[in-house]
Amino acid sequence: MITAALLGNPNVGKTTLFNYLTGSNQYIGNWPGVTVEKKEGYIENRVKIVDLPGIYALDTFSNEEKISKEFLEKGNVDVIVNIVDASSLNRNLYLTLQLKQFNKPIVLVLNMMDVANAKGIKINYEKLATKLGVTVIPISASKGIGVEEVKKLLESGNFFSPVNENDYHYTDDEKENYRFIEEVLAEVIVKEKIESTTIGEKIDLIVLNKYLAYPLFLLILYIIFMFTFSWVGQPLSDALDEYIISGIVALLENLLQNSSPWFSSLIIDGIVGGVGSVLVFLPIVMALFLGISFLEDSGYMARAAFIMDKIMRKIGLSGKAFIPFIIGFGCTVPAIMSARTLESEKDRKLTALLVPLMSCNARLPVYALFATIFFPGNESAITFSLYLLGVAIAILIGLLFKNTIFKKDEEPFIIELPEYKVPELRNLMLNTWEKGKGFLKKAGTIIFAMSVIVWFLSNFNFNGMTDMESSFLAHLGGVIAPVFKPMGYGTWQSAVALLTGLMAKEVVVSTMGVVYGLDLHNILAQQFTPIAAYSFLVYVLLYTPCISVIAVMRKEFGNKMMAFSVFYQLLLAWIVSFIVFNVSSLILG
């Protein structure tokens, strides 16, 4: 099998080409030890393509570059497929020159030919090929033009073997290299017209305008939120819950009528209940990611990072990290996933640690239940105060972490602002589906296992199947309960509610529904004082969001980060809840 390494600058259409070449025949993982995605794909079992991270050069000290370099040196690479932006060859060829060091055949894929043509750039392909000693193929990846040729060439194995050592001029001096590139391009490129102000520049004058930038930014976020939580995502999610999940439950109840009660309980309450409660989030996750892919592909995301940088820097993050925080108000899972797009490892980790403090959708039912019982008339104020508390704590913790565990020099922040584009539908769909699939697979496996465990614990004790009061879970709740005593809610029921709430925060409510029975409102009113109720809500706001978040954290950052994140949040929630309870008790008597 031929191994091809796919390399290029960020944003030149690498992913688009990769998707065209390999179709659905791809495997996504992580490069060992770093949070950089590793993608492999196959053409007909004949060619293996490894998609390397987008980079500008090989020697500017980033993880992405290290990975690429190591793979080129040790990965048995037969051919380098170097994709470049034909409309911006000058800078793109710098990487090409560096790639020549590896003495491997290079296929130079000139992408964005449509853009180059529109700019009046004419390129003499043969001359470029001989000058650089590479094979040149012009394509337009997003339009699917020329992609077949790339495929055929790779399958045939018919690329140039590296020509003699004198066919390139890579030195350690950037100036020399650029001089060489300019020489080559002077002979190879004819530019027909000089552009005046482009449309993109005009858009930037509005989008980055001193007075309009922030209102526009908020409007765009508002639209994406509405799209996700009101127009499309949530309704689909509700429909999924109402028709499909309920349908499956009804069907299973029918099928399992004659099987033993423990078995049907395991399947219906345990597995379908647990996995189903997570599955219903799929449309929300996908809707949100559709919106985000749209922002990414259109070129707006880099602008948002640009205008938010100064603000985010105060808590030790760069502008780009703002996006995951916004998503975090919806759902923490996609928010952590989107931290992947941040440049430095430190940013990715710090963001992932802070994002769970944004109050997600799932916590709302808990606030709603308690607010109606304990603070009638002030429900919105109570709920809003919790959202604000989350943001305030995130800022404080951000400052704390910035000055302790992430006390590294600020990385220099430079980002390229790509040109605006109308996103390609195909690309959007693929991206969104990719995210949805990941959510299903990874969260699904863990949720499945946890559902079975929780079901077992709440239905059994050492004597076999039993009712909940004497189950393992009740005993467990009794053991944990003293921990919550100083905050005024030390019953085994609230302990169990919080514990099972780790499955998903809504479960806090449903568990209470089960353990307190039908008269939930009246019993709750006797179990909590208003102050205890509020500190309970503070705990719900701040403790580890849910098992899906833990799973994603592990997938993205590994066991250590996962453990740290879980424990720091448990501790944080306890401390803040404790303070809230005792200070308000003192003041309000």
Binding site: A57, F306, K310, F413, I414
Partner: protein
Amino acid sequence: MSICDLKPGQCGYIQSISGNKKLVKRLMALGCIEGTPVKVKLYAPLGDPIIINFRGFDLAIRKKDAMNIQLREA
């Protein structure tokens, strides 16, 4: 003078880059080298970072980092 002394819309030629080794390497690899014409396009709404343009593309950079890009005296 440094690139931060330019107002939006003004151009200059790069003389040298100093400071953080990573920053220097990255900018140089992007073709930000002696003699390259560079233009300041805009300032962010809060005054920082700024957008500069050279070799046909836009780059956002913090003022603190951009201070290290020295321009040729005209």
